[in-house]
Amino acid sequence: MRNPERRRTSGSFNTPSPAERTVRYLLLALVLLITVGPFLWQLSTSLKGPGEDVWSRTPGFWPQELTFANYGKVADTIPVWTYAANSLVVAGIAVVGNAVGATLAGFALARLRFRGARLVLGLFLATLVLPGEVTIVSQYVTVRSLGLTDTLAGVALPGAVAMLNVLLMRTAFQAVPPDLDAAALVDGANVWQRLVHVGLPNVRGMLSVVVIFTFIGAWDDFLWPLIVLNDPSKYTLTVGLQYLNGTFSANPRLIAAGTMIAFLPIVVVFATLQRFFFKGVEEGAVKG
């Protein structure tokens, strides 16, 4: 993607000398090895056959007996595909809940004047100083009194509308030029039409960020499902993987296959949607 930023900064100051370029690429490669290497190592282990030495001394990086059998075997040991489906259900509820709940409330707080708006906004802001772990015990008591312990609904419900996302959507709606909204008002648009036709098309970037991070957050979460779920048949992937590790720690190939099942979907989601994310970062950067 050609970026105007690139042209602007390609003056003499910003064109690195060949020596600097080499040093930079060497450093980049080193950091790449440190950050991504362990994942590749794990991927390679998950593809190694039973006859290959995966322990210490001289384990080679490339699988000698390339096989996908470990992925089948991990499913014989724990119901890993059920766990993946459970994680997907939890993440799905979180994404829909946050996309809808945060958009509606964000729009109301940014664009509509109403009694009590300031108080509500203040309370949303106040929750930000409260780390989730602080209320997790009483959250469990609430879910228990709703009769939802040991259910996926119990896992998904508390995070279905996150306060931070409401505030992010409010900020996004505030940035929509008021003229657009005013024109719609003159045309006699009602609140719903203003939200759908004026608001939404202008907050797509922030909405995608909310969706990406809600999905990743729900899919990756460990502590909360660990507290809510007891029945091993209802586990989400992260809890199931820890269970696999605790019970059958003998075969690292199976654990490697399990971790890849939990990791690769996240990579796909992020890789598909990352341009929205880094665009946001760049927009912050271009301002200077």
Binding site: T35, P131, T238
Partner: protein
């Protein structure tokens, strides 16, 4: 902006307001209430006054957990404040392929802490890659017990947290670096200032506010650590349960027949008090700066 019916905004805000009340405000209040009871994970419980707080004062495992938290914070803070800044400077320059590197460096952030801890748990195992390499290089006669020694386990978890956090804070710095005046940099370069001098006199002052914010984020998340220690120790909290964090204790007491919701709530309030510290400090520093 006008709308015909007074309740329209409330209708739109309703789901979020319900969640605010049921899953945020109520649990916060209820944590305080529960901390004065002997409630159990399976239900029941009655008022027991300050019993839970008295118990906390003489809880040796909690004392260990607090020591662990302080060690965690003291090591994470300098490493995660500085390394991601250097990393951001490295990926700031628009070289060909830089987007790939930025995205790749972010990978550990999007992976679940469980996945990451399982990977590292295997790499750091007695028979794992690191010990294999150390043995081959002749640096260790016997495997280093990264996962079974009280302090090494803690340091391994800290290493994991630092490794996983690099990309996260890198992106925050990257966003801030764009706001450090490019003209200022160029002027300094024209005046013949070396890269190191430019870093000290232009970059550092420019990202100072971000640095303060980042250090608060690091401190709060170091005090909240859970998954790394839990998975690396396989849920045991290390030898003698001495490698627990406060959140691990909260989790432990929130479950099963031996659980104690009342005591877990008292620990939660304690966690709140220690995490609010860094945030108040930032607010004070910001007020001074302004």
């Amino acid at each position: 902006m006008t709308h015909r019916r007074w309740f329209t905004p409330w209708l739109l805000a309703a789901p979020a307001v319900v969640w605010l009340a049921v899953f945020n405000l109520w649990p916060a209040l209820n944590t305080v209430v529960l901390s004065f009871t002997n409630a159990k994970p399976l239900g029941g419980g009655r008022f027991t006054g300050l019993a839970n707080y008295e118990r906390a004062f003489s809880d040796e495992q909690l004392a260990d957990a607090l020591v662990n938290s302080i060690v965690y914070l003291l090591i994470c803070l300098p490493l995660l404040t500085l390394c991601p800044l250097l990393l951001a400077l490295l990926v700031e320059k628009r070289l060909p392929g830089i987007t790939f590197f930025r995205t790749a460096f972010y990978t550990p952030v999007i992976a679940s802490a469980v996945v990451v801890a399982l990977i590292w748990g295997w790499v750091l195992d007695d028979r794992g890659l690191v010990n294999g390499l150390l043995g081959q290089l002749g640096l260790a006669d016997q495997p280093v017990s990264f996962l079974t020694d009280r302090w090494l386990l803690l340091f391994s978890a800290i290493g994991l947290t630092v490794w996983k956090g690099l990309g996260y804070y890198m992106v925050i710095y990257l966003s801030a670096l764009g706001n450090v005046g490019r003209e200022l940099h160029e002027a300094a370069a024209v005046d013949g200032a070396s890269a190191v001098r430019r870093f000290w006199h232009v970059t550092l002052p420019g990202v100072r506010p971000t640095m303060m914010l980042v250090s608060v984020l690091i401190s709060v998340s170091a005090l909240r650590v859970f998954s790394e220690l839990y998975v690396l120790s396989n849920g045991t909290g290390g030898p003698g349960g001495r490698d627990m964090s406060v959140v691990m204790l909260i989790q432990m007491y929130s479950r099963g027949f031996t659980g104690h919701i009342g005591y877990a709530s008292a620990l939660s309030l304690l966690l709140f008090l220690i995490t609010i510290g860094p945030m108040l400090l930032l607010a004070r520093l910001n007020r001074k700066a302004a």
